[in-house]
């Protein structure tokens, strides 16, 4: 993939995440008290509300892509070398995949009531 395509994805994920994270935070502070919104039943109800679960999944994907690409950029600039750069790229893809898979598992299980 061309570097400009990767960076376009980087910017797009950033903009998407800003909007969705704002909604996610608003959910925490507009539903009564902050600690009240974190109560088990309340959080579980959030997960079971499908649009919210979809939004959480989107946030997870957007932030993982943006975050791990940012990490890749920093690591590529720190050290150079063919094998190192390959390791960084594949390592970041692996890290991103693991995080998305782990987070998706939580969202899926919680929204399906498998708790």
């Amino acid at each position: 993939m061309r570097e400009s395509t990767i960076m376009k994805i980087h910017y797009a994920t950033a903009l998407g995440a800003v909007v969705l994270v704002a909604v996610h935070v608003l959910f925490r502070i507009t539903m009564g008290s902050f600690s009240g919104s974190l109560e088990y039943e309340q959080v579980l109800a959030n997960y079971k509300f499908v649009p919210y679960a979809v939004m959480l999944e989107l946030i997870l994907v957007l932030l993982s892509v943006h975050g791990f690409n940012g990490l890749r950029v920093i690591l590529l600039e720190l050290k150079q070398g063919r094998s190192y750069e390959k390791a960084v790229t594949y390592g970041c893809i692996a890290g991103m995949t693991c995080l998305v898979a782990f987070g998706s598992r939580t969202i899926l299980m919680a929204s399906m009531g498998m708790t």
Partner: protein, 254 residues
Amino acid sequence: MSETTFAEEQSSTEVSSSKTVTLRIAKFNPDHDSGQQFVDFKVPYERWTTVLDAVLDVKKHLDHSVAVRYSCRQASCGSCGMKINGRPRLACFTKISELNSDVVTVEPMNNYPIIRDLVVKLDQMFENHKKVQPFLLREDSEITGPTKEFNQTPEQLEEYIQFANCIKCGLCNSACPTMATDSSFLGPQALGQAYRYVADNRDKGKNSRLKIIDDSHGIWRCHFAGSCSQVCPKGVDPAMGIQFLRGYLLGFRK
């Protein structure tokens, strides 16, 4: 650290000046020395004395072995780039009186291999410069028939003339935070020059250049810290050119 004072009787410079400054010169020969050593010299200066004048005075009267590269003494050749009090500057363009310091530390520019003392190897910068095709790219030419001039309006000239001021001194690459760790990065000098030719209405090689700089160690490794533009002694503003180039790649500019 040793300190040597100016030998008045040997000096051809006007030593009647009441003002003196300590010139701390970094000395290092990679062939013999294990590390850099600083040597202090007390030199007189006037309001107009440049750091290069002071270094050359030291070289003439106190330590002939100080290695320094210079030529025009008027910020045109780009030879005397060095780190002066922690910032990359042209020695011939920096007056001691403007530094407001009793100690002037001169070191070789960072991010370039040291040849000796204050002289650095600029090969990589010139290689990167060549990579971005720093010449007009087009099928026809002014000298092969049918002969015609490539007209340019003053407005079209304004688009790139600022970037044509680059003297390849390498200060921008020395100040760049990415260059501090990334040995494969093209650097602000080369990227600024890529824009100089892309912005020239006589040039037809925009796509070719954009392809070259759209690399994993190309234009995207610039994070707009702007240090390159802050140290440029000719007002080239490479950071501006780089952002415009990126505008083409992002589709904001045509």
